[in-house]
C-alpha cells in the first residue's frame, strides 16, 4: 500500500498556511497567504480552498492521494461537528461557523477535521516533537492566553463537548481580583498570560512600584511578551517581577496537571516561553518545589521543539488519531 499524504492547515489571524507531510511528519510542500485577513468567514474559506489547490499541484491528483485535511485554529471548537463555536482571532469573528462543511463543499470526497490550536499542537508534539514516545503527555501553551492539549495513547482527550484541556481557565487563586476574559477571577490565564500583562503592570504601578527604565501607566497598553523581555533586559524591576509571578502561576498549573493526570511529559510552548531560560527555569523550580517527594517517577518538563510549524504538522496529525 502506498502511503497517503497528510495535509495540515493553520488558520491564524495574520497568516494562513497549508502544508503537505508524509506520515513521518516530514514537510513536503508549504504554501502561505495573508489574503484572508479582514475577510468574512465564507470568503476566507474560499481563499483557503485556493491555497490548498495551489498546494496540491504536483502532489494530489485525486482525494485518494491524501488521508485528508486537518485544520487548526485558535478558538472554541466542536470537533465532532467540525464547528467553530467562536474565534476572536479575525476581524469578522466566527460564531457557530460550520467550517468543515464549508471547506468540504470545495473538496467533496476529502476527509476534513478541525480542532483548536492547543489540541493540534499537542498532537504534533506527541507524534513528532518533544512529547514523542510518551504514553501520556500534555502540551501547554503560554501565549496571549493559556491552554493545553492532553494526549493519552496517541489520542487527544477531548471530553464530552471537545473543550477539555482548558488549563488556563482553571482557578488557581480563589481570592484573586484579577478577572479573566471568561468572567471569572483568579484563572491561571488572568495571572500569567500575554493578554493580561498591561493590567498586571498597572497594578504594580498602583501598588507603589516605580522604575526609571520602566513604563508609565499611559504606556502599559502596548505591553506584550516581547516588550516585557526588552524591559527586563533594561533592568526594569516591575517587568522582572511580573515575569516571576507569571512563571510561578504556570509552575503551579504544571503541578496541578501533575496531580490530576500524572503524565509522563509536559511540553511548554507559546510566545511567552520566548522570555527564555530564566522564565522556564523559574517554572521548573516552582513545580519541583511543589511536587516535593510526591513525584515517584520524573515528570519530563520540556520546551517545544517543533517551532513555527507546530500548528501545521499538528493539524495534519489529526488525520492519524
Amino acid at each position: 500500500m502506498s502511503e497517503k499524504l497528510l495535509c495540515g492547515v493553520d488558520l491564524g489571524g495574520t497568516k494562513l498556511s497549508a502544508a503537505l507531510f508524509d506520515t513521518n511528519g516530514t514537510l513536503l510542500k508549504k504554501e502561505i497567504t495573508y489574503d484572508h485577513v479582514g475577510l468574512h468567514p465564507d470568503q476566507m474559506v474560499k481563499v483557503m480552498a485556493e491555497l490548498l489547490n495551489t498546494l496540491f499541484q504536483g502532489y494530489v491528483i485525486t482525494s485518494a492521494d491524501i488521508e485528508g485535511i486537518g485544520v487548526g485554529l485558535a478558538g472554541h471548537i466542536l470537533y465532532k461537528e467540525g464547528l467553530v463555536i467562536t474565534s476572536s482571532n479575525f476581524t469578522h469573528s466566527m460564531q457557530n461557523y460550520q467550517l468543515v462543511e464549508k471547506l468540504g463543499s470545495h473538496f467533496p470526497d476529502t476527509h476534513i477535521l478541525l480542532d483548536n490550536d492547543a489540541n493540534v499542537q499537542a498532537l504534533g508534539e506527541s507524534l513528532y516533537g518533544a512529547g514523542k514516545g510518551y504514553t501520556t503527555m500534555v502540551f501547554m501553551t503560554v501565549s496571549t492566553g493559556v491552554g493545553s492539549g492532553i494526549v493519552i495513547n496517541g489520542k487527544l482527550l477531548r471530553g464530552r463537548s471537545g473543550t477539555a484541556g482548558e488549563i488556563g481557565h482553571c482557578i488557581v487563586d480563589f481570592d484573586s481580583d484579577m478577572q479573566c476574559t471568561c468572567g471569572n477571577f483568579g484563572c491561571a490565564m488572568a495571572l500569567s498570560s500575554g493578554l493580561f500583562l498591561p493590567e498586571l503592570y498597572r497594578r504594580k504601578l498602583r501598588n507603589g512600584m516605580s522604575s526609571p527604565c520602566g513604563l508609565e501607566e499611559s504606556q502599559t497598553d502596548e505591553l506584550d511578551g516581547r516588550l516585557l523581555e526588552t524591559l527586563i533586559l533594561k533592568g526594569d524591576p516591575i517587568a522582572k517581577e511580573i515575569m516571576c509571578d507569571s512563571a510561578d502561576i504556570i509552575g503551579t498549573s504544571v503541578y496541578n496537571i501533575f496531580q490530576l493526570l500524572n503524565p509522563e511529559c509536559i511540553v511548554l510552548g507559546g510566545g511567552m516561553m520566548k522570555l527564555g531560560s530564566e522564565y522556564f527555569d523559574r517554572i521548573k523550580k516552582k513545580f519541583t518545589f511543589l511536587a516535593k517527594d510526591m513525584m515517584r517517577e520524573e515528570l519530563h518538563l520540556k520546551l517545544t521543539d517543533l517551532g513555527a510549524d507546530a500548528g501545521l504538522v499538528g493539524s495534519a496529525a489529526l488525520l492519524l488519531e
Copy 2:
C-alpha cells in the same frame, strides 16, 4: 462459558470487608472483620486471607471459579507493582509494602489487583453506580481528605506512576496560608476536607467570630463532619460558614475538572457529602456560576448511589478493567 465471580476487598482502618459479586455487580456474599485493627501488615494480610477463605466457602473451590481478588485501601498505591507506598490508615503504618505479593502467597494461582479507595470507588460508580453509562466520568470523594478517580472508556486514568486523580492536592488558592498534609499551601483539601475542620474553625474564632451554641477553641480538635452538621442544626453561624466555604472550594474543584477534562459526569461521595442537600446544592451553585455559558452540554453532577459497599464493588471491578 460459565461466568466467573469477582472478589472485592475493602481494607479500612476500622473495618475489613470482603465480598463476592457476579459481573453485574450483584452482591452474593459478604464477610466483615475488625480483627485486623492494630496488627502489623503481615499479620493483617493473614487475617485478610482467613476472611477470604471464609468468604469463599460454598462458592470458590478452585481459583478458576473467580476472576481474581481486587483490593482497595486509602493510601498512595503503585498499581502496576501492587505496592502500598504509604497508608496512614492503620496503627502500624504501611510503607513500601508489597501487599499483592504477600496476599498472593496465600492464593498462589489467583489474579490479585490493588488500587486506592478513590480509584476503586470511581470504577464502581462507573460500572454499577451513578456514573453508569458515561464514557468519561470522575468520582470525587470529599471525606477526611479529598481525592478523585478518573474513568475514561471504562478504564481508570492512572498516569505514569498510578497517582493520577489527586484533585485534593491541586492548588486552588495560591495565596492561602492554610497548609495541607503534603506541605503545600492552598490545596483544595486543606480548604474543604474533614481533616481541616478544626483549624478552619479556630481561624474563624481568631478572626473574631463567636457563637453561643458553637465550640470554644479548646473543643475544636473534636470537630468532624458529623459534629459540624450538629452545630449547623443548632444554628452555629461559624459551622455554617465553614460548610459554605468548603462547598465553594469543592464547587471550584468540580469546575477545574470540567475545564481540564470536560467529563460527562462527576459523582460526589465521601463523608462530607452527608452534610446533606444544603452542602451539595451550594457545590452545584458554585460550579454552575463559574461554568456560565462555557458548558456546551450539561455536566451531570451527581451524588454517589452505591452507599457503603462502593469500595467493595469497586475493588471487585478492578478485575473487569
